[in-house]
Amino acid sequence: MNGLRNFVDKIKPTFEKGGKLGFLHSTFDAFETFLFVPNTVTRRGAHVRDCVDLKRVMIMVVIALVPAMLFGIWNTGYQHSLAFGLDWGFWNIVLYGLVKVLPLYIVSYLVGLGIEFVSAQIQGHEVNEGYLVSGMLIPLIVPVDVPLWMLAIAVAFAVIIGKEVFGGTGMNIWNPALLTRAFLFFSYPSKMSGDTVWTGGVERWMNEGVAFQAGNGLVDGFSGATPLANASMQGLQDSGYSLWDMILGTIPGSVGETSVIAILLGAIVLLWTGVASWKIMVSSVLGGLAIGYLGYAVGATDLPGYYQLVMGGFLFGTVFMATDPVTSAQTECGKWIYGFLVGALAVTVRLWNPGYPEGMMLAILLMNTFAPLIDHYVIEGSLKRRAKKVKTA
């Protein structure tokens, strides 16, 4: 440890202002503070500080995402094996999953962190660790076959236009990961929706006739559709998706969104550590259930409300995206409203908008936009109540 510290101390002057590589100051600082908690001491105000910092908060979210990521890798291989009738063993499945998912991660982090480093350099501040989470989320919410160049453009758009122009992490209005997905969704719809994009290798097989390992080609009766595409009792039965499949996650879908169990493991980590707001999670689920059952009651769907929770990206969005502390509502009361509307809107889009089978992404982005307004009214109301209380007292 001392050897490493000595080495860092030795090369440090090169990167400081006036040093040979002084222009890389922020980059060096980012790596140094990644390796070592800095020796900075408090200068003003409280002399002692809590040992938690943003790196710790962010790493907790990353840890919470690990189950979903691991399951996503496995499921990518499993779906491919299923589609081509390969009967792969566990390691083959994981290997294929890694081959497909790892590049998504590499592109996501290289492009995103690259832009973060450059803009920190330009603005002369420290590199914020917010992208550690965004970069982890992005591969999990896209179809596994999304072309890497598209992903790169989308990430660049989200980080530059969605975040850096506002001043970086903490200042952004929309969740950067969802913005990436929205960019892909509206710019390249053919790669983001339909029945064939959700299973790795299927598009390529259909276009070029080749696949990683094709066996005898696509199995008979392969549909590749997600449960949301056939969101009715009959539809689900025809595609062969039981409720248990959807809870387990052995269905096609975006890489990390399918497994309810893996997502709930993440939710436990987030709630346990207090990093994400339980109010938003609970109210979003309530909102989804409310509209889900309303739709069931009025005959918009024959699926009971709880199906809405286990299909598509609802739970993933609720647990990991709606709870983003920067873009969600800031007031405690506002969080209830915000979360409820996220869930309610997502299911509303699902049930009553024939154009979009899934509404979670748009619901969260829309509520991101309105979160400051919700907070505004919550605060106005609370100030008014307080003023009245003080006056009467």
Binding site: V37, V41, R56, V57, T169
Partner: protein, 451 residues
């Protein structure tokens, strides 16, 4: 309003080094300092020159804005040195104390036989007026103004703070005199808040002529600002005064003995304090006078006050006018390999659950001054409210201060807070934002624009 206040939010920082309740020594001061920097916004006028003889109670400084506010020497001796900083800003007046202490005789006075005006005059002349702090803004009270009420917090919940009951043992009569004097002078109620945990045993519970409140809760329940917020919030245009128990005792002594006697028990505390205990001392005494409490070979920080709101005075520094606590900490200027990524950091405390210190709630920690991270923008939004038992929106207030938006600062409660009330927000902030500095700047702006 209710006289019992239960506060749920807050945090008692588990730091090692509480002072044991015994007085280890009586300090015979050598050099003491009168520091105009102890008072917000004060423009001091020097009344003495180097080499002048002074007695305990002789005015050394005056407030340039209202020159009847005087600042007295706590000892008798010779003015040794006047320390100035940048732009000749007056920082310290150092006085070399005599071996024998002599006091200016202001004469014993009976509060009951004095008029409000006479009481005010007596306090002003003796140099004890600066003991009265005005809210909003935390500045020295204006003798011409009329407060809505006077507030006293009879206990401190700050980390390792001196125990008020122990520190003021035997001073009940003086405190009663001071309360009578202030109530008569200002013609308003004196609100005293005692700790609900030992309300019945507290000498403050027996005070006459006060409105008594009991307060329970973690820090900052003992902050007078938090108590005011729950008893009678400061609205725009209103003024309240606050005074600390220690200063009450000094005011009482003025009337009962005729002396300017600001001596007090000072708690020497902190993880790096050796056998932390109390000493009998004065404001303005030097750290050199307590050198048996620390190991000078270590890299230490000396704080006049507590770890949240105190002033870093250095090994050569002097205790502030209002403080009755010294905290000695290690400077945390060390690197920690992958500290933030370690699953366990058993030697560090976190109020968040991202570490596991919440599993050992009774453990105390040897804290140091490391920042444990780098400054960032506001990201996590629910940590601040959990440690602020006030009906306020701290992040909104801070952002209003950052934006210099006076309307919003008013709206979000700048009149009700001082730095100390939001100090815990700063402590828990994962973005390592200098929250108290933001409030300081905000108050400075308000003083500039509104006064």
């Amino acid at each position: 309003m209710s006289n019992n206040i239960y506060l749920k939010k807050g945090l008692d920082i588990p730091i090692n080094g509480a002072a044991t309740q015994n007085t280890k020594k009586v300090i015979t001061p050598d050099v003491v300092a009168v520091k105009p920097t102890d008072f917000r916004g004060l423009v001091p006028k020097l009344l003495v020159r180097e080499g002048d003889k002074v007695l305990a109670g002789t005015p050394v400084l005056a407030d340039k804005m209202s020159q009847n506010i005087l600042f007295a020497s706590p000892v008798s001796g010779t003015v040794a040195e006047v320390i100035r900083g940048e732009k000749r800003k007056l920082l310290e007046v150092r006085i070399k104390a005599d071996a024998e202490q002599e006091y200016v005789d202001f004469g014993k006075q009976k509060v009951s036989e004095m008029s409000a005006e006479q009481i005010k005059e007596a306090i002003l002349v003796a140099g004890l007026w600066p003991a009265l702090t005005q809210r909003p803004y935390g500045i020295i009270a204006n003798p011409e103004s009329k407060p809505k009420a006077i507030f006293v917090s009879a206990f401190s919940t700050a980390p390792l703070a001196a125990d008020t009951e122990f520190a003021l043992n035997g001073q009940a009569a003086h405190i009663q005199t001071a309360v009578d004097a202030l109530a008569k002078m200002a013609g308003c109620n004196v609100h005293v808040s005692v700790n609900a945990a030992n309300a019945s045993a507290s000498v403050f519970s027996k005070l006459q002529n006060v409105v008594l409140h009991t307060v329970s809760g973690k820090h900052p329940a003992g902050n007078v600002g938090v108590q005011i917020h729950h008893i009678s919030p400061v609205q725009k245009g209103e003024i309240v005064w606050t005074v600390s128990p220690v200063m009450l005792a000094a005011i009482g002594k003025l009337f009962n003995t005729g002396k300017y006697d600001v001596s007090r028990k000072i708690a020497v505390t902190g993880p790096k304090a050796i056998n932390p205990a109390y000493v009998e001392g004065l404001p303005g005494i030097s750290m050199k006078d307590i050198k048996e409490f620390y190991d000078a070979s270590e890299n230490l920080r000396f704080i006049s006050g507590d770890i949240l709101t105190g002033t870093n005075i250095g090994a050569e520094g002097f205790i502030g006018f209002f403080d009755n606590q010294v905290t000695i900490l290690e400077e945390g200027d060390k690197y920690e390999l992958l500290g933030w990524a370690k699953p366990f950091r058993p030697k560090l405390f976190s109020a968040s659950r991202t570490y596991f210190s919440w599993l050992t709630p009774n453990k105390k920690y040897d804290m140091d001054t490391n920042l444990h991270g780098g400054p960032r923008a506001f990201v996590v939004n629910d940590v601040y409210g959990k440690v602020l038992p006030m009906d306020l929106y701290p992040v909104y207030l801070l952002k209003a201060c950052l934006a210099n938006d006076i309307d919003k600062m008013e709206k979000f409660g700048i009149y009700e807070v001082l730095e100390e009330d939001l100090a815990l927000c700063e402590y828990v902030c994962p973005s390592k934002i200098y929250i108290q500095q933001i409030i300081t700047d905000g108050i400075a702006l308000m003083l500039k624009e509104m006064c």
